[in-house]
Homo-oligomer: 123 residues x 2
C-alpha cells in the first residue's frame, strides 16, 4: 500500500522561537545534526522555518536578526498525505523539508528528502 507521511516523519524535532538568536539556531542545528528548524510559538503553532541555507544567507548578506532570514510562508503537509505528493511538493518548490502539522497548525514533526531517500535504501 501507499507510503504515508506518518510512517516516515521525524517526531520530537528540535524547534526554535522567533526570539531565538541566529547563533543559538546555528548551535542547535550542529548539536542535533539537522539542517532544518521549524519556528513555533508557545503552543507549538508553526510560524516559519529556518534552514542551514538561511544561516548561510546570513553570512553572505551580513544579516544579524533571525527575522531577516526566516521563511514565514511555510509549506507544510499533514498526516495521511502520500509520500508521492510530499516528494512532488518538495521538487516543485526546491525545498528539502516539509513540517507536518495537525488541524490547528500545530507542529507534529518534519519530513525531509533524506527520509524519502532512505526509503530507497531499504529496497
Amino acid at each position: 500500500r501507499e507510503n504515508v507521511v506518518d510512517e516516515l516523519m521525524e517526531t520530537d524535532v528540535p524547534t526554535i522561537s522567533i526570539d531565538t538568536e541566529i547563533k543559538e539556531a546555528a548551535a542547535m542545528m550542529i548539536h542535533n545534526e539537522v539542517t532544518h528548524l521549524p519556528v513555533v510559538d508557545d503552543d507549538k503553532v508553526l510560524l516559519g522555518i529556518v534552514t542551514a541555507w538561511d544561516l548561510s544567507k546570513s553570512i553572505a548578506e551580513d544579516k544579524h536578526e533571525l527575522s531577516d532570514i526566516m521563511t514565514k510562508d511555510v509549506r507544510y503537509c499533514k498526516n495521511g498525505d502520500s509520500i508521492e505528493y510530499i516528494a512532488r511538493q518538495m521538487k516543485k518548490f526546491n525545498i528539502s523539508c516539509l513540517p507536518v502539522v495537525d488541524d490547528d497548525f500545530k507542529l507534529e514533526g518534519t519530513i525531509t528528502t533524506d527520509e524519502i531517500s532512505h526509503l530507497i535504501s531499504n529496497l
Copy 2:
C-alpha cells in the same frame, strides 16, 4: 532496470577551492540555491566538501577559515553505481550529498537526497 547515478546526477556543479573565503562560499550557495559545494583543485581533483551545515557551524563555533570547517575525507561515488547503493551510503553516514568522481578522482558531478527524492515524485 536499475537506476544509475549518471542518469540522476547534476553536472557542471558550482565548486570552490581551498582558498575560497567563507563569505564567498556562502554567496555561491545562495546564488546557485545549493547546499553543497565540492572543494576541487585546478585540475578538478576532489579535495573536500563544504555544506550549508558547515557554514552554520562556522557561526556556532566562531570559525573564520574555510579549512576549519571543510570536510576533507569526502565520501564519493562513481558513474555506474546504483541508486540503491548511493542511498544506503548517504543513510549510513548521515550525509545528503555524494560527489561523483572518475578514475582520476576528478569531479564529474554531484548526487543529493533531493534528486533521489525527486525520483519518487515521478511515479
